[in-house]
């Protein structure tokens, strides 16, 4: 069968229906904090037993991509990332919503998600086998440096108070140590409590630190939640397309970055979003707007996190190594169906892989109308629902969502404690993002460091292990750039002003 044949096989009414259903279900699941793409896909596995492998993949891929986009709603409208991938969406999305541009932000997020999704899926279609090796070239040390690169974002996020940002990040790093350590199997910082044994679950921490303070503020202030315009402005699609066209380079760069990070098995959507956000901010001419409602911030994050869908499938299908957590579930489902992943899959089982990739492209395109419609509905309901109804509903959802992640009451308790703590810290000028960054990146950095150290020590070459590997050196250079570029830039400016005055 040629590629046209595969495309036609993906366009059967059955597959189109699966793609539509998948995207709708995924978007709804993703928009509810606590319900993740991984969970949505896992719930589906029994249904896929009776399907053809390609159809099962299309359904799971559509749900996955919808969920990653759906995470943007809560991020923009409630300052709560619906999935960890949408953390960086809150940075600018929520300020946009606050000033009355929530509808615009959601439309921008939808367009960006479709762009990112398409780029990721096209990479999967054309370059999967060669790109899969990127996954293997990343060793422990590379992950360590990647996590450190992510941590440098703190300087950007702490908004004027670097010290408080650093303190927050250290607190987050400490939180990441709680529980049974992933590598050494030590039980740390639990103070004998079984509640803390399972560690701080990232999504419940996100819900606590981001959503609870918003809820408390909603109750504590008489203002409306978001500023609303009286006139209906539709989707503001035209305006959004305009903005998107103007930032096409940002979209392209973020999508490619997202794809690449998606290929790395140890990283995932949250890191892709953060890396793309910091790159967008670094290369922007209006750096000062970031964090105060810059559309580019939303676009960068949302295109990058949807690009990880296609990117993550690359090592999953080529190497049998899941690129992201939902990929691990999908890989398991394929295994049960008796489908062996590997380079052979692309050459001998084109009818599965290529039909699936076309199906994924189809689902991504369908996300534009579906996403706009659901997004408009989400925006409407959050904006128009009276506070007295909004607060209890959202509070209830946070409890259910937190419980659902691991079926754990401990996680709910931890979420509430962190939420109150986050609100109190917010009063003193500590923002949640550095804490979350520390929590997410802490375990990646720790694992990479310890593994790199053990391997380096065994080879008697610690220095070479940490500073002698080409990719490490590259990331390290980016870290230096990210840390010192503000300093150098301001010095440069001062100099220019001085010479200009002469």
């Amino acid at each position: 069968m040629d590629s046209l044949g595969y495309l036609l096989a993906a366009l059967t009414p059955y597959h189109v229906a699966l793609a539509i259903g998948g995207v709708v279900a995924g978007t709804v699941v993703g928009s509810l904090p606590g319900l993740t793409a991984t969970m949505a896909v896992a719930v589906l596995i029994p249904i896929t037993f009776s399907m053809e492998p390609a159809s099962a993949l299309i359904l799971m891929g559509a749900i996955y991509t919808g969920a990653i986009y759906g995470g943007a709603y809560a991020a923009i409208l409630l300052n709560t990332p619906g999935t960890p991938s949408a953390i960086a969406t809150t940075f600018d999305g929520y300020p946009m919503a606050k000033r009355g541009d929530g509808d615009l932000a959601i439309t921008l997020a939808c367009i960006a998600s479709v762009c990112g999704g398409l780029v990721g899926a096209l990479f999967l279609l054309f370059l999967a086998p060669p790109l899969a090796n990127v996954a293997l070239s990343f060793g422990p040390v590379e992950y360590f440096w990647l996590a450190i690169l992510g941590l440098t974002l703190i300087s950007a996020l702490s908004q004027g108070n670097l010290l408080k940002g650093l303190i927050g990040a250290c607190f987050g790093l400490l939180l990441s140590c709680i529980g049974v350590a992933e590598i050494s199997a030590d039980v740390r910082l639990t103070f004998g409590s079984q509640t803390l044994l399972g560690g701080i679950e990232t999504v419940s921490a996100l819900i606590g630190l981001y959503c609870i303070p918003v809820l408390i503020d909603l109750v504590a202030t008489p203002d409306r939640h978001l500023k609303v315009e009286d006139v209906s402005r539709g989707f503001r699609l035209h305006e959004a397309l305009d903005i998107s066209w103007r930032s096409k380079f940002n979209l392209a760069r973020s999508s490619v970055l997202g794809t690449l990070v998606g290929i790395l098995p140890g990283a995932g959507g949250s890191i892709a979003g953060l890396v793309a956000y910091s790159e967008a901010r670094r290369s922007s001419k209006q750096q000062q707007d970031f964090g105060h409602g810059a559309p580019e911030g939303v676009q960068a994050t949302e295109s990058a996190n949807n690009a990880t869908v296609g990117g993550g499938f690359i090592p999953t299908l080529v190497l049998g190594i899941p690129g992201t957590p939902p990929d691990a579930v999908i890989l398991g489902a394929l295994l049960i169906q008796g489908v062996r992943t590997g380079p052979n899959l692309f050459t001998e089982h084109g009818s599965i892989v290529y039909v699936f990739i076309w199906g994924l492209l189809l689902a991504t395109v369908l996300m534009l109308p579906i996403g706009l419609l659901i997004g408009r509905y989400a925006y409407r309901s959050i904006v128009t629902v009276p506070k007295a109804l909004l607060v209890p509903t959202v509070a209830f959802m946070t409890l259910i969502g937190t419980y659902a992640i691991r079926n754990s009451v401990s996680d709910v308790a931890i979420m509430i404690v962190l939420g109150v703590l986050g609100w109190v810290l917010g009063r003193f000028g500590f923002s949640a993002s550095p804490i979350v960054l520390g929590l997410i990146l802490g375990s990646i950095a720790e694992q990479g460091f310890v593994q790199g150290w053990i391997i380096g020590a065994a080879a008697d070459d610690l220095w070479g292990q940490f500073f002698g590997r080409p990719i490490s050196v590259g990331i390290f250079a980016f870290i230096l750039l990210s840390l010192f570029s503000p300093l150098l830039l301001s010095r440069f400016r001062v100099k220019r002003e001085l010479t200009g005055a002469d």
Binding site: F138, L197, R406, A458
Partner: protein, 319 residues
């Protein structure tokens, strides 16, 4: 007099109740069973449970509903098992050596003896895995290299105090070598490190060899007999090392579950294991079936406990 009346009335009542309850047991399972995996989705514990799922439905007409309660390397789930209703409709996956080693390390909320183990249905045998282009063609090549370069041979593996880690420690002791073990988060990450040449070999499982058969080579497997999927790979025993180990998986119930249901459940799992198609699927993925039923569990656990405790002490995982 009164007692006679009582007897007259009670006797048929008791009889009826007995018949009713016997009937209930005969029909178990009457509804879907909740099957909790104390790890995240997509791992081996999930995949093997997913293999059981369709066979359970086909044979007994009821669903196995799989959900996840990850955290603390399984400890979070096991610590909560006995608080669940013991009606036979709540079961949980258990893994060896985890349920033996974890409680020995620290208070993790459960003791090995607290768990009402029902049936061990399979194990994934430990194996030494190297890349297909590795300089080590046989296990002896690796041993020779390790003896000449103490500490320089690096192995990736999944976690510490795990089947992989304990096997590495035992092997080093028996072979008189000193190798370096690098723990990764799960088998997936440890395979990635191997394929990316971050380490020289992996203490992995036979399932790794099945999944990545075009890229890796198994040097030896920790089984009594060779694995049917890998007829050319010797066992450690053949090579003179007494290592038969791996990650055993089975099923436990809340300790309030009645005895008759436990026996019945064990026989259900047993029947799935006996299915030729199930066996074929599992072996194709590199797993190996074992069949430790409810009656044989005590003796099995006694034996495993001694071996794992000694290896864990050797590994410095427990004091």
């Amino acid at each position: 007099m009164l007692t006679t009346i009582k007897r007259v009335i009670l006797a048929p009542l008791t009889a009826a109740l007995m018949i009713l309850s016997a009937g209930a047991i005969a029909e178990y399972p009457e509804k879907a069973i909740s099957y909790v995996i104390p790890f995240g989705p997509g791992g081996e514990s999930d995949i093997t449970a997913r293999h059981q799922q369709p066979f359970f439905k086909k044979k007994f007409g009821k669903d196995l509903v799989i959900s996840y309660k990850p955290g603390g390397g399984g400890a979070v789930g096991w610590a909560q098992l006995n608080k669940m209703p013991g009606d036979g409709y709540n079961i949980m996956g258990v893994n060896l050596p985890h349920i033996i080693v974890k409680p020995l390390q620290k208070d993790v909320g459960f003791k090995t003896d607290d768990l009402a183990l029902i049936h061990m249905f399979h194990y994934t045998p430990d194996a030494v895995v190297v890349n297909i282009d590795s300089q080590f063609k046989t296990l002896q090549d690796l041993i020779d290299h390790a003896k000449k370069n103490p500490g320089k041979v690096t192995f990736s593996g999944s976690g510490k105090g795990t089947a992989n880690h304990l096997a590495q420690v035992t092997f080093d002791k028996l072979a008189g070598t000193k190798t370096t073990y690098v723990a990764f988060k799960g088998t997936g990450a440890s395979v990635t490190a191997l394929l990316g040449n971050q380490v020289m070999g992996q203490w992995g499982y036979t399932s790794v060899g099945a999944k990545h058969s075009d890229k890796v080579r198994l040097l030896a497997v920790a089984m009594e007999q060779r694995h049917p999927r890998f007829p050319d790979v010797p066992t450690f025993k053949e090579l003179g090392f007494d290592i038969v180990s791996g990650a055993y998986r089975g099923i436990a119930v809340p300790n309030s579950t009645p005895e008759d249901i436990r026996v019945k459940l064990s026989s259900l799992i047993d029947q799935i294991n006996a299915d030729a198609a199930f066996k074929q699927k599992m072996e194709n993925d590199g797993f190996a079936l074992v069949n430790v039923d409810y009656k044989g569990m005590k003796a099995f656990m006694e034996e495993k406990r001694k071996g794992y405790a000694a290896a864990a002490k050797e590994a410095g995982v427990i004091k």
